[in-house]
């Protein structure tokens, strides 16, 4: 299949906008043919996943573009890097990774990207509007943009996200097209565990199930708790994208393209109906822990994806009282840190034994002081990846469970 190129696509290819844009456009054309796109569209923004150092290839790619004099053509945010540039003393990895990681982050700035260094760019001023065509990478950012904001992106991978940013173009396929955003699978939450007061655990359990059972088919969910908020939807999407290839979900009555079930399915019938009961949700949440209750912990890690200001508001209500006896980390980003400083909360958090990790995340880089034992988290995504990534055992629980466990030094449930 050959792709139809506009006048501006051809001028990008011919090098009229520089060698870097021409290189990016060549890759994009081959990519577009591989995914079966017929043309390109303009994008309003990009989010780049490639500033996390994953080996020499990360630097080779970016240095090539810097050498060619590349500049991004749309507002472009950056995902987490390997180093907390605000708190470099937290980094405990090898000198090679530290140096290469910091260079990789800096090189992206040289291309004109904004140094947001967050997996939650939707929490910044660069939050896309409903219907915006964008090229975002990072699985949780993608699913949040599509589902919660109603912006339109595909699951762009490393490299292609930056090619889109350097050209301002993206192949028109998949979720850029309205009819492909139709739900295929109906997920009916028929009952909820009464003992789970907040919606967080239910949303993670539903998200994990969707990831395992829907593949890349768009699900529409009914029956989520009435208290479900934006952070709960963030957690749902993040674990769904980790456990599967979910790039878009509809939560009926909660997300903008699903005011009704019928709207989510664009008037068609579901291909499959998945029914979930309180017992199913309990079992899924239970299976996210690799250790039993009562197991001693070495740390608690919160904020994967990055902790929002409203999550800090909830945490602030929980930190008064006894200090934790183990390390407590919260991953967040620069915009939230500035607000914490403005409110005087940074000092209160430190005094309460909390280590703030900025620009990066505890499971992608060597930050945690002690990984010899089990770590507890309220993030389904962290629980899913940490055993493979950093070799720890995990316990999964609510935010309140995590705080209580940090004080007890072992896994406790409220």
């Amino acid at each position: 299949m050959s792709i139809a190129l506009s006048f501006s696509d051809k001028s990008l290819l011919s090098g009229e906008h520089g060698e870097a844009a021409a290189f990016a456009m060549r890759l994009l054309v081959r990519f577009a043919e591989a995914v079966g796109a017929e043309r390109f569209i303009d994008i309003e923004a990009a989010h780049i996943d490639g500033c996390l150092y994953l080996g020499q290839v990360s630097l080779d790619f970016i240095e090539h573009l810097v050498h060619l004099g590349g500049r991004v053509r749309v507002p472009t945010t950056l995902n987490v890097g390997s180093v907390d540039l605000i708190h470099p003393e937290l980094f405990a990895g090898s000198d090679e990774v530290g140096r290469a990681g910091a260079r990789l982050m800096k090189a992206h700035e040289e291309l004109g990207c904004v140094p947001t260094f967050t997996c939650a760019p939707y929490q910044t001023i660069f939050r896309p509007r409903f219907g915006a065509q964008i090229a975002w990478a990072e699985s949780n950012a993608i699913v949040f943009a599509n589902s919660v904001l109603g912006a339109r992106t595909n699951r762009y991978g490393d490299f292609i996200d930056l090619c889109c940013a350097l050209t301002g173009r993206a192949p028109c396929y998949g979720l850029h097209i309205g009819e492909n955003r139709r739900a295929r699978v109906l997920v009916k939450v028929e009952s909820l565990p009464e003992e789970w007061e907040e919606a967080g655990l239910s949303c993670v359990a539903v998200g994990h199930t969707i990831g395992r059972r829907c593949g890349d088919r768009v699900p529409a969910i009914t029956g989520l708790p009435a208290s479900t908020n934006e952070d709960d939807l963030k957690a749902l999407g993040a674990v769904a994208a980790s456990a599967g290839a979910v790039a878009l979900f509809h939560a009926v009555g909660l997300t903008p393209e699903a005011p009704t079930t019928d709207a989510a399915f664009q008037g068609r019938a579901p291909e499959e109906v998945i029914r979930l009961t309180a017992a199913d949700l309990r079992e899924t949440a239970h299976n996210l822990s690799t250790v039993p209750d009562g197991t001693p912990l070495t740390a608690v890690s919160l904020g994967t994806p990055h902790f929002s200001l409203s999550e800090f508001e909830r945490l602030m209500r929980l930190i008064d009282g006894a200090r934790p006896v183990i390390d407590v980390y919260v991953n967040t980003h620069r915009a939230v840190l500035e607000e914490l400083q403005r409110r005087g909360w940074e000092e209160r958090l430190r005094a309460a034994g909390v280590t703030l990790v900025i620009d990066t995340c505890t499971y992608v880089t060597a930050v945690m002081r002690d990984v010899s034992g089990a770590v507890m988290t309220n993030s389904g995504k962290w629980a899913y990846y940490a055993p493979g990534n950093i070799g720890v055992e995990v316990a999964f629980g609510s935010l309140a469970d995590c705080v209580a466990s940090a004080r007890a030094g072992k896994v406790v449930r409220l």
């Binding site: 990519f31 080996g55 090539h64 595909n154 762009y156 490393d158 490299f159 599967g244 290839a245 493979g388």
Partner: protein, 140 residues
């Protein structure tokens, strides 16, 4: 007797090797150690299998979009698969192989097989892929 199937080229190249058939999709990021080519996803049925030099047969891609970098890095180090056969188009896998070819000249062909041939392909101990720009073939 050899059997030849038609397939679609996602990334061009040719390869002939033993297969590693995955019973579930794999996210390379968080799932593959690029230093050793070993599957490290603790939840994956084929964990601890090594894909280096083998033809990876996987129904679809999964998980993090950083998988492109991990695949490209594995190919740079020579620990990556010799080729990849998919049943569903996957942008993340495609880009990883494409960048390794562009930066290092390391060809890891990626092809799309058809549903009708899938059972035979996943049952084969070794495969030969010939992926050109026009079309691809998979030979058993």
């Amino acid at each position: 007797m050899t059997v030849k199937f038609q397939a679609m080229t996602l990334v061009a190249g040719s390869a002939e090797a033993e297969t590693l058939v995955l019973t579930e999709p794999l996210s390379f990021w968080g799932g593959l150690d690029s230093a050793t080519g070993r599957i490290i996803d603790q939840w994956h049925p084929e964990k601890n299998e090594v894909m280096s030099g083998r033809i990876l047969v996987m129904r679809a891609g999964r998980g993090s979009s950083s998988g492109s970098s991990v695949l490209a890095e594995a190919l740079r180090r020579g620990t990556g698969p010799a080729g990849i056969v998919l049943l569903a188009r996957d942008a993340i896998v495609t880009v990883g192989a494409m960048v390794a070819a562009e930066l290092y000249g390391r060809a890891c062909p990626v092809v799309l097989a058809s549903e009708a041939d899938w059972t035979t392909i996943t049952g084969a101990g070794s495969l030969a892929i010939d992926a050109r720009n026009e079309a691809a073939t998979i030979e058993i």
